[in-house]
Amino acid sequence: MDSYDIVVIGGGPAGMAAAVAAREEGVEKILLIERDRELGGILQQCIHNGFGLHHFKEDLTGPEFSERYIRRMEELEIPCKLDTTVLEITAGREILYINAREGVTKISAGAIILAMGCRERSRGAVNIPGSRPAGVFTAGTAQRLINMEGYMVGRRIMMLGTGDIGLIMARRLTLEGAKVIAVLARKPYPGGLMRNVAQCLYDYDIPLMLRHTIVAIQGKDRVTGVLVADTDENSRPIPGSERLYECDTVILSVGLIPENELSLSAGVQLDPHTGGPVVDEFRQTSVAGIFACGNVVHVHDLVDFVVEESEIAGRGAAGFVLGRGEAEGAETSGTPIDLLPGEGLKYVVPQRMRGFNGEERLDLFLRVSRVYGRSAIEVRHDGDTVKRLKRLRMNPGEMERVRLNRSAIEKLTGSNLIVEAVEVDG
């Protein structure tokens, strides 16, 4: 059985950034495993721009962004197995994979970095009743068909959901000559970035219909129309408000789910709030030596933040296999402090804090569960506020970041840190 220092599962931006960071820390034997026939992951179908503004201070397209990491992977001579699917991983860090060249093969790793990304919620998962004709696509599937395969998916389109891929695809479909009748959001606010709402909907005069949803899909063979209803304060459809829109296509952008089937096969603990593994500040999961980063941990807004997190995981895993204390020692040293989402928060990552990563500061990533105007994020410990960050506006579509300094935290012991969003008057 071949063995590696670090095996990275997933060759999207998260996996590549983690592998690169681990190599830069001096780890020799790294292997990256990717399902697709090339590296880059979903970025390869994201042919629009807007990537890299934070990380590279440049405005890149998805393929350009990933190309930078592919080059870096080549420079650092990090081997990859493409067109290879991992079937199972174990808590003992054995990895079973399959490909056409080697068949079913088992390898072992000093550390594993999970970077499998996420998948889209489907029609079934959001329970849209009606008939089941062709012409219902998730936004990412439509994006692949259009941008990678070069085929259009429809002419008159109703879109449900305002995830970022959906917003991008509303524009893309319009540029390809389709008519996007409207983009519907169940909630009173859009789910994606305001930047995308402005650049993809407003600039192209695509109606955004907040507080609306599809209650039935019609059509026997191909979609012929949808029934759209208003929604109430609980985002549920209001009976009697239905009206019919004729269309041949429904695009769904109704959420992303971290893809953690492999994580579960190794017994990795998941956080019900994120759908991803519970991780500490090194992005180590509940299983020693298994790290995770990117959208498999929580769904990020920007690839820039994905690679930032993945560098943390890459360094964490490097520390673990090189025996540099922090990550490795963390298992035994002291009691970890749990970070819990309190009032107004959907989740907070990392969920666990061990030794502060040897760094002077620790960034918490979090999402609020509703729209806030003038507000603050507060980090509390035993009733004391250890950090307070004022915000003019927060919405669930935009990830928030809170930076903790070592000095404020390092003497805390025992009980959990609770992170909350609070309204601020005036």
């Binding site: 399902r35 026939r37 090339e38 067109d83 699917t85 079937l87 399959i98 490909n99 056409a100 060249r101 080697e102 068949g103 079913v104 998948r119 889209e120 489907s122 029609r123 079934g124 998962a125 329970n127 009743p129 009606g130 008939s131 089941r132 004709p133 062709a134 012409g135 998730t138 990412g140 599937t141 692949r144 068909l145 259009i146 990678m148 395969e149 070069g150 085929y151 259009m152 998916v153 429809g154 002419r155 390809e176 000559g177 209650v215 039935a216 019609q218 026997k220 063979d221 191909r222 459809p237 041949d248 089937e261």
Partner: protein, 499 residues
């Protein structure tokens, strides 16, 4: 000229076709859709019933009890998965205990063996997720679960292997008598046959009326279901029925043969025989009703809902007889539940009906009862997997990650007899798209494989029926429209460029 034409390639038509393929008979199986098993067969509970439900003396009771034990051998020959997990009819109140006792007695009367009534303590020990109000249950160990379209597809394939002509896209528009035989017309051609077997499901009354005055009518009853992720499949260990009422058998909860959890159906009479829409209110009813069985059904893990139609006859029983007004025309109609269970026994009976008019059927010497085994790659031992990959590297490529389906299996499903030609056809046979992402990732790849293997343009590949197109054409600069001959895919070009 065929000797026998079978109209309808659902579970009944395919099993009759397969049974008749044992004999020296020219058999044609006609199907209006572009695939077999595309009607009620692909949307039902997939239960092999024990036989205690049906009215004693009815055709339903008779064929159910005869059909159940036939599945072991049939499934072995056709290489179809069958799991006799047993069924429980649970009484959730003292008054329902009487119903359980009645069903027990009815089962004895119908000739169902091995039935027993188990009490609360034992019941909850074998089904710990049942609602606490459970009192007792009728246990029928011979009840099982099966994939109804898998067996119909397998039967059609085996029938075709043994010489049955299968005509898809053959919606019957007219049947006329012509010199002692029948001339069957569809927009895609005509077929003449000496005998006709009407297995047209919800359309069986209309087919009947093409040759004779109405003697029965079919009113479809729609049933809606939820399919839950495989992580929920272990919630129950048996098929769990509620006590039947005058409204029917009620909502059941069961594992599927693939390990998903299936919850449903309701029962509503409808007029439109092609109405397969699910509705919010009925799904809500199913959800509430299933709540009586167990409080622990994780509805957050629903991956799909669907509905199917039962071909309910006004006679309240199966209609399996030669039509008095049309000699040689045999109705096999009104085959609602327990039709799947009854199907193999019905096929035997129809064979005997035919021989009554035709005289003894002569067996072919070369009938092969065994379908070429299905390739279920992930179920193979590791060594076998690697042998297969060495022989055909496409078994080393996973296309559907949720169900772990390889490219090799998909290609095999396309090139078998009665192979898949559509996205749903592939899904029905080897399951890509059946899992939790519902084809989000694998859909475009399956489409590409279909186009490649069938030598079609991707825009010609449909989801299910002929008009269920998926792609509307190339993008402004996309597709294959301006592609010079001999130029590989983007990936290949890039690989060549980068060396």
């Amino acid at each position: 000229m065929s000797e026998v034409a079978i109209i309808g390639a659902g579970i009944i038509g395919t099993l009759i076709a397969r049974e008749l393929s044992r004999f020296k008979l020219e058999v044609a199986l006609l199907e209006s859709s572009n695939d077999v098993a595309n009607g009620s067969t692909k949307a039902n509970s997939g239960i092999i019933h024990a036989g205690y439900d049906a009215e004693p003396g009815s055709a339903k009771a008779r064929f159910n009890v005869l059909g159940n034990p036939l599945f072991d051998r049939l499934c072995e020959q056709l290489d179809v998965r069958l799991n006799r997990i047993g069924s429980l009819v649970v009484a959730f109140s003292p008054s329902e205990r009487r119903t359980v006792e009645q069903l027990y007695n009815r089962g004895i009367h119908n000739g169902v063996g091995d039935l027993q009534i188990i009490e609360r303590e034992q019941l909850l020990s074998i089904e710990p997720n049942l609602d606490e109000s459970a009192q007792c249950a009728l246990l029928a160990p011979q009840a099982g679960i099966i994939d109804p379209w898998e067996i119909a597809v397998a039967a059609a394939e085996n029938a075709a292997d043994n010489g049955v002509e299968i005509r898809l896209n053959f919606p019957v528009q007219a049947i006329e008598r012509d010199n002692g035989c029948y001339r069957i017309t569809s927009p895609n051609g005509q077929i003449r046959a000496q005998q006709v077997i009407n297995c047209a499901g919800v359309f069986a009354d209309r087919i009947h009326q093409m040759v004779a005055p109405p003697t029965f009518t079919i009113t479809p009853r729609k049933g809606q279901y939820f399919v839950l992720d495989k992580t929920a499949g272990a919630l129950v260990n048996h098929v769990i029925f509620q006590c039947p009422t005058e409204l029917g058998k009620g909502v059941l909860v069961t594992r599927s043969v693939h390990g998903n959890l299936l919850v449903g159906p309701d029962s509503v009479e409808i007029e439109d025989r092609e109405d397969l829409a699910t509705t919010q209110d009925r799904l809500e009813f199913v959800r509430r009703s299933a709540g009586k069985v167990s409080k622990n059904i994780p509805f957050s893990q629903v991956i799909r809902s669907f509905s199917g139609l039962r071909a309910t006859p006004n006679t309240k029983d199966f209609i399996i007889e030669e039509c008095g007004e049309a000699p040689g025309f045999i109705d096999v109609a009104g085959i609602e539940s327990p039709g799947l269970t009854a199907a193999p026994a019905i096929a035997h009976y129809v064979r005997d009906l035919l021989s009554r008019t035709r005289g003894a059927l002569e067996e072919r010497g070369d009938f092969n009862p065994d379908r070429r085994p299905a390739i279920r790659f992930m179920d193979l031992p590791e060594q076998r997997k690697n042998e297969l990959i060495r022989k055909d590297p496409r078994f080393g490529r996973i296309i559907c990650r949720c169900e772990s389906v390889t490219e090799g299996e998909i290609v095999d499903a396309i090139h078998r007899n009665v192979g898949a030609t559509t996205l749903d056809g592939v899904k029905k046979r080897v399951r890509p798209g059946m899992g939790r992402c519902q084809g989000g990732f694998c859909g475009p790849q399956v489409l590409e494989i279909l186009a490649r293997e069938l030598k079609k343009n991707p825009t010609e590949i449909v989801k299910n029926e002929v008009d269920s197109y998926i792609l509307t054409g190339p993008t402004k600069c996309g597709g294959e429209k301006d592609r010079p001959e001999g130029i590989g895919s983007m990936v290949e070009q890039k690989a060549a460029y980068h060396g």
